[in-house]
């Protein structure tokens, strides 16, 4: 059953790629301008840039920034959010900050962050850190609040200590929401990374797209855009795979 689901998902993914490529090819033929090359030209350039290592290097730079931010923000935001969801005192302290800061698009902080942290990687990582941290914190807090009281009480009656409850009830009950938050915030991160990398960088897919644009090398630009899309897709598939392994209990209903 699960194998069939996976086959269906891969099939629909392939169909979407074909449909997008077809739309692109038709549009390119209709427009017939250098700034919209046909998908074949972009694909050939993509293959070239992959084999000469250029895209790999820039993709690596982007992935490293996202990965580092995820490592720093994910566990800490999840822990703080889950704790706030279960503790009124901590929540009263955390929530006002969340409500004030969460609605502001984090990209708005980019100039300030760059003034403080400079133009290097630290600023970019910190910006993505803020995005992931905020989203995971809010989702974790709400998920921990929604944990059924009966599950907690049942565990308490079995002699569980607070850390046991965190480990056996609050964390597993919130895990699907945490992974959803990761999916959302990683998507936002990649979008924001493009902006952050287009300033004062010399690496990253965002920088490469802008650089190709200024070089008026449109096939190169599209090759990098396709690579960025593939990166986003890979991240989504990775989160889905983690969810399929860790949240197997949800599929069996």
């Amino acid at each position: 059953m699960r194998r069939r689901d996976r086959a269906i998902r891969l099939g629909s993914l392939a169909a979407a790629v074909v449909a997008l490529a077809a739309a692109w090819a038709i549009a390119a033929a209709l427009v017939d301008k250098p700034f919209l090359p046909p998908p074949g030209a972009a694909a050939r350039r993509l293959a070239e840039r992959v084999s000469d290592g250029t895209l790999g290097r820039h993709l690596g730079a982007s992935a490293r920034r996202v990965g580092l931010a995820l490592l720093l923000a994910g566990p800490s935001a999840a822990a703080l959010g889950l704790a706030a969801g279960r503790s009124k005192g901590l929540d009263a302290f955390v929530s006002p900050f969340v409500y004030i800061l969460h609605p502001v698009p984090k990209i708005a902080f980019l100039p300030i962050i760059m003034l403080f942290l400079g133009l290097g990687d630290a600023a970019k990582v910190f910006l993505i850190f803020l995005i992931i941290f905020g989203q995971v914190l809010v989702s974790a807090r709400d998920a921990a609040r929604a944990v059924p009281e009966a599950s907690i009480e049942s565990l308490r009656s079995l002699g569980a200590r607070p850390l046991d409850i965190a480990r056996h009830v609050v964390f597993p009950a919130s895990l699907p929401a945490l992974l959803s938050a990761l999916r959302i915030s990683l998507g936002t991160s990649i979008a924001v990374l493009f902006m952050a990398e287009s300033f004062a960088s010399e690496s990253g897919l965002g920088w490469y797209i802008v650089d190709a644009w200024t070089r008026v090398d449109y096939p190169d630009m599209y090759a990098a855009i396709v690579a960025l899309s593939a990166f986003g897709l890979a991240v989504y598939l990775l989160v889905d795979a983690v969810e399929a392994i860790l949240c197997r209990w949800r599929e069996s209903g």
């Binding site: 599950s151 049942s154 308490r156 009656s157 079995l158 002699g159 200590r161 056996h168 209903g253």
Partner: protein, 266 residues
């Protein structure tokens, strides 16, 4: 109070027990002035309409809440902590963790007591077999029927080798047939192990069929213990009891007590 070791010693007793919840306009009493005794090795039921505080009473007995007034005593093995020694609580919705398999749910109390993996397995396996769950140990609860979930909850309680089993509406959400099967399973297990059972139910028939003593609660905020009805001495155990005249007398006495025209044997 009966002395330790004597036949019929109380495994659990309530004296002047009362519990208040914090309400918007001051304390809201759930129940008050509750006196009751559960003899060791017996099954005792508490019946009453919804809102009479019977579930709250069970929570206090399980040590999940401290009573506002009065005291709970746990008989010979009371350690004075207010928490029942070797008691297992089965909640109305079974309290299974959906993200744990059947065997992980059953082993959970041992895991929480820091028992090693092999010992946990060894303790859970025979109980799973005994309850007909042997082939389902790797299933998640969502794939089981209500009756099977109830059996998992029972297995999880039994793995703790409890002296006292506290059950809240244990069989209320099962269909009639599974309910009767579970009642037989409970009677059988209880007879084999000599566990003391306190169960809360709104079903007069269930209380009369399972319990040798029924406490009737009435009123709300606070609910009070209105009567105590003891089973007829001639009572047999097993499915035949339902068709005996004494069963009818027993249920009628409980019903009368519930309706407020006085209890028998109180």
């Amino acid at each position: 109070m009966v002395s330790v070791g004597e036949a019929g010693a109380a495994a659990l007793s309530f004296a002047g027990l009362g519990l208040d919840y914090a309400g918007p306009e001051g304390p809201l009493p759930a129940f008050d002035g509750v006196d009751a005794e559960v003899p060791a090795g017996s099954i005792v039921a508490v019946v009453g309409p919804s809102g009479c505080g019977k579930t709250s009473l069970l929570r206090v007995a399980a040590g999940l809440r401290a009573p506002t007034r009065g005291a709970v005593a746990f008989g010979p093995s009371d350690d004075g902590s207010g928490r029942p020694p070797r008691a297992a609580l089965i909640l109305q919705d079974y309290g299974l963790l959906p993200w744990k398999t059947v065997s992980a749910n059953v082993e959970l109390p041992l895991l929480l007591a820091r028992v090693g993996r092999r010992t946990r397995r060894a303790a859970a396996a025979p109980i799973l077999e005994e309850l007909g769950l042997g082939g389902f140990s790797r299933f998640y609860p969502s794939r089981l029927s209500g009756g099977m979930r109830q059996r998992v909850a029972l297995a999880r309680a039994l793995v703790q080798e409890p002296e006292l089993l506290l059950m809240d509406e244990p069989f209320s959400s099962l269909d009639a047939l599974s309910r009767e099967t579970m009642q037989e399973i409970l009677l059988e297990l209880q007879a084999r192990r000599g566990t003391t059972v306190l169960l809360v139910t709104h079903s007069i028939e269930e209380a009369a069929y399972l319990a040798e003593r029924v406490y009737v609660m009435r009123g709300r905020n606070p609910g009070r213990m209105a009567a105590r009805v003891d089973a007829p001495p001639s009572r047999s155990r097993g499915p035949g009891f339902r068709s005996e005249p004494s069963f009818l007398d027993y249920t009628s006495a409980v019903r009368r007590a519930l309706e407020g025209s006085g209890g028998a044997g109180a």
